[in-house]
């Protein structure tokens, strides 16, 4: 008997009990759609975390000065300037794994346009900052090296600041804003960057050349950097390498002996990001295993119904055997039946799961991420459930004694 005929017989048997077949397949439908939806949710959450971290900058390292110590009290990182402009130059020029490095001097201060004012974070930095933060101007231009060298009084505004000082639609480029009463010409507006993973508004900031910052906004030590340094590596692997190299370089430059602690702090954002991703991965695994359990329950449902079906159709099995069906034919017939049930359930489950994932993605503003491998795995798994749980009933049917089976009432 060829497979197509076996399939036809199976379909006919299943359609004979439509409601029962539907309810049996429902277990698999729920299991598979749960797997698909849960994994999509997990992936969506993961992508959101990833997006949040990449908005901070790509392969970003943050370098801060060491801590002051007066008596037993430590001032915390950054409180004691240890990093020099020469350190920064050395990091930029000597380490090939470093793509960009820029000082970040910041201060919260009121700034004003002609008729409005707003208190925001003024950042003194250099062109590398835009590379390190993976952040571009939307209109106008970036700070340039020559702005930094000549200490030009120019400023690039974040979106939020533009709105507060000029209103929604205005084009501020060419206008003057005053920071600490010093007039700065607006040369650019940054693209919207959104929120940090902690909810801080990235766009509520203005950028000025670091030299201008030091001369006009907050005077400071000329040799030391009173702020932090943002460093970006070429790739995640480079970030790890850069972290090690920077540490070695700075320890050497600061003449630290082997028994002395670092007088600076160097952190990688990708470490934080990967910790977060571990979290979402655990969540995905958890959700997927719950879904897998429901698939298993669906499989038990199939086995149960197949056993009932074998009992009900004992006479039919006996007859088929009497007129020439081999045990193998009977085995195949019931196995195909349970396979059809579980695969049909699996396919319906996939479409339901996709629908649910789409709905949830729209509802919670997640990116809709469907992993095609999960679809194949889910359908494959439901097929496997059909075979595994169908095998026992099918074997039972195939091993019936035709005489007993024909006599069965």
């Amino acid at each position: 008997m060829n497979p197509l005929q076996t399939l036809r017989i199976a379909l006919r048997a299943l359609l004979r009990n439509k409601l029962r077949s539907f309810l049996t397949a429902l277990g698999i439908v729920i299991g598979v759609s749960a797997v698909i939806a849960m994994v999509a949710i997990g992936e969506g959450a993961k992508a959101r975390v990833e997006a949040a971290f990449s908005s901070m900058g790509s392969n970003l390292l943050v370098l801060m000065s060491g801590s002051t110590r007066s008596g037993g009290a430590f001032g915390g990182f950054g409180s004691m300037p240890t990093l020099t402009w020469d350190d920064l130059d050395a990091i930029r020029s000597e380490l090939p794994s470093v793509r960009a490095a820029a000082a970040v001097l910041q201060m919260s201060t009121p700034i004003s346009s002609e008729d409005l004012n707003w208190t925001t974070t003024v950042v003194g930095t250099a062109p590398d900052y835009f590379i390190a933060r993976n952040w571009q101007v939307e209109s106008g231009q970036n700070l340039s090296e020559s702005d930094v060298e000549s200490g030009n009084k120019v400023v690039v505004l974040g979106r939020t600041v533009v709105q507060q000082l000029f209103g929604h639609s205005a084009d501020p480029i060419g206008h003057v804003v005053r920071i600490k009463n010093v007039p700065f010409t607006v040369i650019g507006v940054m693209a919207t960057k959104g929120q940090s993973p902690m909810g801080q508004d990235y766009d509520d900031t203005v950028l000025v050349p670091q030299s201008t910052f030091q001369s006009k906004i907050r005077g400071g030590l000329q040799k030391f950097i009173s702020g932090s340094i943002f460093i970006s590596a070429h790739s995640p692997e480079d970030a790890t390498r850069a972290q090690r190299q920077i540490r070695e370089l700075l320890r050497e430059r600061h003449h630290l002996g082997p028994d002395q602690d670092d007088d600076f702090s160097l952190r990688s954002l990708s470490e934080l990001a990967s910790a977060q991703q571990e979290g979402t991965k655990t969540l995905t695994t958890l959700l997927a295993s719950i879904a897998a359990v429901s698939l298993l329950v669906g499989g038990i449902g199939i086995m149960n119904i197949m056993l009932v079906s074998v009992t009900e159709r004992t006479r039919e099995i006996g007859l088929r055997m009497a007129i020439g069906a081999k045990p193998r034919n009977i085995l195949e017939q019931f196995l195909v039946e349970s396979l059809v049930l579980s695969l049909a359930g699996g396919l319906v489950g996939v479409s339901l799961g996709l629908g649910a994932a789409e709905y949830l993605a729209a509802r919670f503003d997640w990116p809709l991420l469907i992993r095609p491998d999960i679809i194949f795995i889910a359908v494959g798994f439901s097929g496997a459930v059909g075979i595994v749980f169908g095998l026992y009933p099918a074997r039972k049917a195939s091993m019936l004694d035709p005489i007993e089976a024909l006599r069965f009432e």
């Binding site: 006479r315 020439g324 005489i403």
Partner: protein, 245 residues
């Protein structure tokens, strides 16, 4: 010993173990049936006639003794080979018809051909021919629940015939039918017998056995009586019945 007996049982014994006790269903039966014979097997329940039928039908294997079917010793073959023999060499007709419900007459008749691996067109052609032979050419697409008992039994006979078997084994084929329909079915069996088909029929009704050319009576797992007879003609009785009514 002639070499061309169709069925040749030699000292066939069948024992069943039921718990601690052994039940002897057949106590050494030797029997030959020639091609073209119409044999009625009679006996009360427990006489061993059902066991004999099961053995003849290759549904069961004897505990000891040999069974030659069409020259082949089938007493020690495996399940798969026995299934093939049932499919190609034997045709079964049951008391309760055993048709698949919600399946047309044509498809019911096609079933043995399906297991024989016959192609779709050939299946249909042969199933139609078999149904025509039992007089159901106009009911090929009816389902069993749309047919009378006699018609259902005709479908079952067509199914038994469709693979051109050597022997037809009928187990109380008229047990569920009224006397008139029984006559019709027996007329059909006689017609098949006249065309050279070998038929073995189990019954406990004397008048049904009277249509056979040979009558076996069993008791306690042994053959009590074996005699050839001139059969009644079912078709003639049927005609008389029609004239009378």
């Amino acid at each position: 010993m002639s070499a061309n007996s169709l069925i040749e049982l030699t000292d066939v014994k069948k024992e069943y173990r039921m718990g601690d006790t052994t039940v002897r269903a057949l106590a050494g039966v030797s029997l030959r049936i020639e091609a073209g014979e119409f044999v009625a097997v009679m006996g009360s329940s427990g006489s061993g006639k059902s066991t004999l039928m099961n053995l003849l039908g290759c549904l069961d294997r004897p505990t000891s003794g040999s069974y030659l079917l069409d020259g082949r010793d089938v007493s020690k073959l495996g399940r798969d080979v026995l299934a093939e023999i049932r499919n190609r060499t034997l045709g079964f007709v049951f008391q309760s018809f055993n048709l698949l419900t919600r399946t047309s007459a044509l498809e019911n008749v096609e079933l043995p051909l399906l297991y024989a691996g016959v192609g779709a067109q050939e299946r249909k052609r042969r199933a139609e021919a078999a149904l025509t032979r039992v007089g159901l050419q106009s009911r090929m697409h009816h389902h069993p629940n749309q047919m009378s008992g006699g018609q259902q039994q005709r479908v079952a006979i067509a199914r038994a015939l469709v693979n051109s078997p050597v022997v037809i084994l009928a187990d109380e084929p008229t047990g569920n039918l009224d006397s008139r329909t029984s006559l019709e079915i027996m007329a059909l069996f006689q017609e098949l017998g006249e065309s050279g088909m070998t038929i073995v029929l189990v019954t406990h009704e004397d008048d049904i056995a009277s249509f056979a050319t040979r009558r076996l009576v069993m008791r306690d797992g042994a053959l009590l009586d074996d005699r050839r007879q001139t059969p009644e003609v079912a078709a003639r009785l049927l005609q008389q019945l029609q004239v009378a009514s």
